[in-house]
């Protein structure tokens, strides 16, 4: 068994910042990550990091924009923390040598971004995430922080008191991908989950293949409520075959969207008669899909984004990297032909419920980054607000786990504050297939038996259980996971996409149920212990199923149209009934829906909901 003060799971922007912060407090910290740190998907972020750095700007404005962008579903304490801390964190990065783009006078450059009242998006060319990730990894090397890279975390070692609020997390169970060994990691002070996005729940996403929502699923099964899962951001212009993002820059420069009939549908079909292609992300994404659904898509799949009319000179001058992307990833010469594009899953606003210190309701368990939901983004994330979230809440979680006093959190976690129970009618029972709580082959539930165990024993037990589970998967001669996974992904893209209708959502729940049942009999074909990706993908598939279900349940429950969540039957934002977060608790296998109110009360003012105008 390995033992450290703080264990960070995941080495993207959030995980790295958390580890550095914990080390700054003098803790013995280690990172366990299924990818080598520099392979994390934070590297893919292009646009920038929002931070109020200039005299003419203020954190209050940043907070206000964020709240407005969240469509009033963000919690004010989290949003204000983000806005207050990000300048300092960004300057910290700069002092660590991050290669930001520069102004004439040598200061870091900032640019305007959608939804911001001031150009406060700090950037490093079109590769901000890459620079951020590498700069932080460099600090990790400098500090000699231990990294268990290519170790997959399978499970959390959590005690099993009845109420999640009474439980404690003592460590994790890791699987060494290269050797196939399963080992326990005991964390004396805390475990920080920073496992990133969950894009693989959908079959078309800008996220990496490794973004399977493992952390969210593990925490969920250990009893932590997950929050606002239905809010998924879709990006309107991603390449159909790979999901690679084509930035808004193309439309900003004058790129035009056409359907298969060669019509400029944004105007001709009245999706956005004023802004056309420049309408907001969700509007464009829905318009594209409507075209495809109505038979005007190309190959029934995508639409065309054309920039040829801009002329070669202008294109090579301003959009050169787009030419490369289209060529390398889609085989299209964008100077000669239009680029195929379609909406792709991009970001998950929801996640593991935490307070503004990154702590969950389970003692010693923290979450930060895209897998967490403090809630900063509410129902819709503004561009450039995810990266500051990583460093701000990553740092806070790290400091807090290592014992720094950050003051009492204002956000309550678990069912400790105000809450109400919820109800949603589902066509099939959600949750565990088979006998709930049984040691089914495929289960990855968390709670280890007996709260009277010492932390070491608890981790050891969890390790043994996981060992058995892996053995069973390897031994079982069942179905391959990949069909199950793609069935779920396809159903999610068809039914829980930018368009959500009651019948479709229900169908998705049925499909997920089928998948759960099929998964009962899943087996791993590859018999090797060495680098068994077949096994890992099989385990990830289980996480995908749990998360897909959570997203769909939330979407079905929330009968309003807010932010990224569109419901055919309910076309209005309903502040009367829905200024509240959707919460789901696993409850040993049968998901329980409940709600907690949104906190609109800031430090100095209350954020009054305003109509969202496009």
């Amino acid at each position: 068994m390995h033992e450290h003060d703080v264990i960070v799971v995941g080495a993207g922007g959030a995980g790295l910042r958390a580890a550095i912060a914990a080390q700054e407090e003098g803790a013995d910290v280690a990172i366990v990550s299924k990818l080598h740190p520099v392979r994390s998907h934070t590297g893919a972020a292009e646009g920038g990091i929002n931070a109020a750095l200039r005299e003419a700007d203020s954190w209050e404005d940043h907070a206000y924009d964020t709240m407005k962008g969240s469509d009033y579903l963000g919690d004010a304490p989290a949003i204000e923390t983000l806005a207050q801390d990000s300048p300092e964190e960004v300057i910290q990065l700069e002092h660590w040598g991050m290669a930001f783009s520069r102004e004439e006078d040598g200061r870091v450059s900032q640019r305007p971004f959608g939804g911001l009242s001031f150009p406060r998006t700090t950037y490093a060319g079109a590769e901000t995430g890459h620079q951020l990730l590498h700069t932080m990894y460099e600090q990790l090397v400098k500090r000699g922080i231990e990294v268990y890279d290519e170790w997959y975390v399978l499970d959390l070692a959590v005690s099993d008191e009845d109420d999640p609020e009474d439980r404690t997390c003592h460590g994790v169970v890791g699987y060494d991908i290269q050797s196939g060994n399963i080992e326990g990691f005991r964390a004396r002070d805390g475990v920080i989950l920073a496992t990133g996005g969950l894009g693989q729940v959908f079959d078309h996403t800008t996220n990496a293949v490794a973004n399977t929502g493992d952390g969210v699923a593990m925490a969920y099964r250990a009893g932590v409520p997950i929050e606002d899962m239905e809010f998924i951001q879709f990006h309107p212009t991603s390449l159909p075959s790979t999901g690679v993002l084509i930035s808004e820059g193309v439309r900003g420069e004058g790129g035009i969207l056409y359907n298969s009939e060669g019509e400029r549908f944004m105007f001709e079909y009245g999706y956005a008669s004023n802004d056309g292609e420049l309408a907001s992300r969700d509007v464009v994404a829905r318009a594209e899909l409507s075209e495809v659904n109505e038979g005007r898509g190309i190959e029934d799949e995508y639409v065309h984004l054309d920039m040829r009319h801009l002329g070669e000179e202008r294109i090579t001058d301003r959009l050169e990297n787009i030419l490369h992307l289209a060529k390398d990833f889609e085989g299209v010469d964008a100077l000669e032909e239009p680029m195929p594009v379609k909406p792709g899953q991009h970001y998950a606003m929801g996640g593991i419920e935490t307070d503004e210190n990154g702590e969950t309701c389970i003692g010693g368990l923290y979450a930060a980054g895209e897998c967490a939901c403090a809630s900063v983004h509410g129902s819709n994330r503004l561009g450039g607000n995810a990266l500051p979230e990583l460093i701000v809440f990553g740092a806070r979680a790290g400091h807090h786990a290592a014992g720094r006093d950050l003051g009492e959190a204002e956000i309550t976690t678990g069912k400790r504050g105000e809450w109400e129970s919820g109800d949603v009618e589902t066509p099939v029972a959600p949750g565990e297939a088979g006998i709930s709580g049984a040691d089914a082959v495929a289960d990855g539930g968390a709670a280890a038996e007996g709260s009277d165990l010492s932390p070491d024993e608890l981790v050891a037990r969890a390790t043994e259980r996981t060992d058995r589970r892996v053995d069973a998967l390897l031994e079982n001669d069942g179905r391959n996971h990949s069909e199950i996974r793609s069935d779920v992904q396809e159903s999610m893209t068809q039914h829980v996409n930018v368009f959500r209708e009651e019948e479709g959502l229900k169908q998705a729940l049925r499909d997920i149920r089928d998948a759960r049942e099929a998964y009962q009999n899943v087996g791993v074909a590859d018999q090797s212990r060495t680098f068994n990706t077949d096994l890992l993908h099989t385990i990830e598939t289980r996480n995908i199923i749990d998360i897909a279900e959570a997203i769909t349940l939330g979407a079905l429950a929330r009968d309003e149209f807010r932010g990224a969540h569109w419901r055919k039957e309910y076309q209005e934002r309903d502040d009367e009934n829905w200024l509240k977060h959707t919460m789901l608790s696993w409850n040993d296998g049968s998901p329980e829906l409940w709600y907690k109110p949104v906190l609109l009360e800031g430090e100095e003012k209350r954020y009054e909901p305003k109509i969202r105008s496009y």
Binding site: G43, W151, Q178, G331, D534
Partner: protein, 296 residues
Amino acid sequence: MSTQLPEQVEEESSAAEAEPTSAAQERRLEKKRQRAEEKERQRQAEEAEKALDEEDTYHLKVFRYDPEIAGKKEPRFDDFHVPYHKGMTVLDALMYARDTYDSSLTFRHSCRQAICGSDAMFVNGSQRLCCKTQLSDLEEPVRIEPLPHAEVVKDLVVDMEHFYDQMEAVEPYFQTNELPEGELEEQHQTRENREKVKMSTRCIWCGACMSSCNIAAGDNQYLGPAALNKAYRFTMDEREGEDMKQQRLEILEQEHGVWRCQTQFSCTEVCPKDIPLTEHIQELKREAVKNNLKFW
């Protein structure tokens, strides 16, 4: 760094045998193995047929090796026929082959957009990022092997530990004695200086360059193009200050540092991020000479 490989069992006995397993489990596993073989034969047959009916397929020849599995201890090439669609990359083809034909086909990949650096492989005789390589640019059959000059862990996965060690041997982190006073004060940098280091900051640690360099293949201690480029990124960053530059040049000048580079240019040719590696290394050599001349 981290992952210490525990002592492995003898080459000959497979891991399953070495562990105490019950007879029943052994039998189950044996049956599973047999069925797997059966399935594999069936797959080969089906695929061959498919290749005949469908014209628009790509023929892949993929390197296979697994230290634990009987049929794979001796490396071999497997054939896969993958249906082609416009825009398909080598990575797409590999994923298709894995998900449809053989789930034990093993390779690293994650981002699918040339930023995570996981999937550098040896494709048709050259180090390339699979996700950034269009099938249509390649001749058939497409031969896919793990990166040369690295030890193979399994199939297309190589051990990157040595590469990481070299990257980390050059003090790959920003160090300066010239930080501004205030917490919120920026440390200014000129546009020209940022422009100078820009390309060098783009490295995604894919290891293609190191794998292509003959010198690195011969001299295991050679820092290699990627690490030297990393060092360049800091040496040329004016914000670090003169003292640091001195120290950095000393690191670079060690026996297995810049002087080992024989300007073969293959690193520059294969780098998927178009970093002018040779140019950077040469500049460091000149910088080092200038630096030494000062003290003569």
